[in-house]
């Protein structure tokens, strides 16, 4: 039987899966993407470097800071701008807030896929609210910060920001324990996720999995460690990976990354260097190219920018982590037994974001 799963926003997201099934077994899984294709790569060719900030953030509204960082760093690399250390630390803090936002949402979604909607999804969304408040205090907006600009950040840290962040982190650390005890250690979740959607290490690497999906299969790679950018080189944090490669391991990687993100924010906010928070960058960027990699919540994004010396980029190619993970997902039935009821669990353990897959 062929099942058309989606496209509706709740749970399937703005995309559709075509399932070919035999009874309960899934024989073939075909993701149907493109429902949110906006042509961002084309739009960027027709915007100045500063105007490009807004469309780039629309790649992933959950994780705007990390995607924008890739774009801004590409401009800086071509223009050969040295970003002040203070700006690097502020960027790192916002990137980690963005990562926590995204991972919390992912934790809520996989809980929803397992039937834990009222307890876990609503908790994670409520806790995410606190980080949105912190981001609002810093940037003036809650989601689409548009806070990074070529040369630094838009404004300096407001007074009382550090106290506010530490207050939220103290509370959140207690909440992380609650999530562990009531959901990750919960027999209900373990039975739904352990051994479900197993992705072997060699397949994860060669099919091109990214981010927590890759690390959940035991491959130790994180762009923040492999090619440290911004303040990550100075900060002490662990690279999280799990060996099992199942839906539980992928969820656990995200959970443990939130624990690390809290550590990163704490250390960064205590050590913000004094100095300027931005330097001027000319409107016109010289002819050149840059390939910049940034670890977003969903994995490594590669942004390839080609410039021709005008006020707009000639071409911007965005190598999306979600598209890579969706390809791996489409191949899952070949090497992992998948039941129809497992599809939502496996899908949200991959945590694809269709906005950045579609671009």
């Amino acid at each position: 039987m062929i099942i058309s799963w989606g496209p509706q926003h709740p749970i399937s997201g703005q995309f559709r899966i075509i399932l070919e099934t035999d009874g309960e077994n899934v024989l073939k899984l075909t993701p149907d993407i493109g429902f949110t294709h906006r042509g961002i790569e084309k739009i960027l060719e027709n915007r100045t470097f500063l105007q490009g900030i807004v469309p780039v953030e629309r790649l992933s509204m959950l994780d705007t800071a990390n995607f924008l960082l890739a774009y801004v760093r590409a401009v800086e690399e071509i223009a050969e701008v040295d970003v002040p250390p203070r700006a690097k630390y502020i960027r790192t803090i916002l990137c980690e807030i963005s990562r926590i936002n995204s991972h919390l949402y992912a934790l809520g979604l996989i809980a929803e896929a397992c039937g834990g909607y009222p307890a876990i999804f609503l908790w994670t969304v409520a806790d995410r609210e606190l980080f949105l408040d912190v981001a609002e205090m810093l940037t003036g907006t809650r989601w689409s910060y548009s806070f990074f600009i070529p040369g630094g950040v838009r404004r300096d840290i407001p007074s009382g920001f550090k106290e506010k962040v530490l207050e939220v982190l103290d509370y959140f650390e207690g909440r992380l324990e609650t999530y562990r005890d009531s959901w990750l250690e919960n027999e209900l979740f373990k039975r739904r996720a352990r051994g479900v959607g197993e992705l072997p290490l060699d397949k994860a690497v060669t099919l091109g999995a990214a981010g927590p999906t890759l690390r959940g299969s035991g491959f130790r790679f994180d762009t923040r460690k492999d090619e440290p950018y911004e303040a990550y080189e100075d900060l002490d944090f662990k690279l999280v990976s799990m060996e099992e490669g199942d839906s539980y391991a992928r969820t656990m990687v995200r959970y443990l990354e939130m624990v690390e993100s809290v550590k990163i924010i704490r250390e960064a906010i205590e050590n913000i260097p004094e100095g300027r928070f931005r330097v001027r960058v000319p409107m016109r960027v010289p002819e050149g190219e840059a390939y910049v990699r940034v670890e977003t919540a969903r994995g490594e994004v590669g942004l390839h920018m080609i410039t021709d010396g005008s006020i707009k980029p000639y071409r911007v190619k965005i190598n999306s982590p979600s598209l890579r993970n969706l390809y791996v997902l489409s191949r899952m039935p070949e090497f992992s037994r998948l039941l129809v009821a497992d599809v939502p669990v496996v899908l949200w353990s991959f945590d694809p974001w269709f906005l950045d897959a579609d671009r």
Binding site: E41, G208, F221, G302, H304, R331, D358
Partner: protein, 156 residues
């Protein structure tokens, strides 16, 4: 300081290379002759350890009348990014599919086909991936695409 990956590339692919340069730490760009693409790709995977294709795309150099096809490769052992490029004429552009070498080329080659109108030969399933099934407005990422107009069917 010499980069061992650069030295290996220069030695193994010598004849096929048109351009080879470093883009940054652990990032290399290589341009090979279009006729040698398949052979070079196979060597890169089997002898050089570039086991992952993370993405592929194209650049429309309309003034030079060429398309540059760009493959983004990565080596899980050497932890190095390799940007593999070939230039093909803009008139009737065709390229051999690399799907048999790197399976993950699947989605990216389909995108290249629908966005630039590049005929990917030997691809097992060359169908639309991002654009609507009834799209008839041309190839959106080409430089001569009129982005103000778009598809007539979408104008109300």
């Amino acid at each position: 300081m010499s980069n061992p990956v650069m030295d290996d590339l220069r030695r193994i692919l010598s004849e096929s290379i048109l351009d080879l340069r470093e883009l940054g730490k652990r990032k290399i760009s290589i341009t090979v002759k279009a006729d040698n693409l398949l052979e070079a790709a196979r060597i890169l995977k089997e002898k050089m350890g570039f086991d992952v294709l993370t993405s592929a795309g194209a650049i429309d150099y309309i003034a030079k009348k060429i398309f540059q096809i760009v493959y983004y490769l990565w080596s899980s052992k050497r932890r190095t990014v390799l940007i593999l490029r070939v230039n093909i004429p803009r008139e009737n552009p065709t390229i051999q599919s690399l799907h048999r070498i790197w399976e993950s080329a699947d989605y990216h080659e389909r995108e290249m086909w629908e966005m630039f109108g590049i005929d990917v030969q030997g691809h097992p399933n060359l169908t639309r991936i991002l654009l609507p099934e009834d799209w008839s407005g041309g190839f959106p990422l080409r430089k001569d695409f009129d982005w103000r107009g778009g598809d007539a069917a979408f104008q109300h």
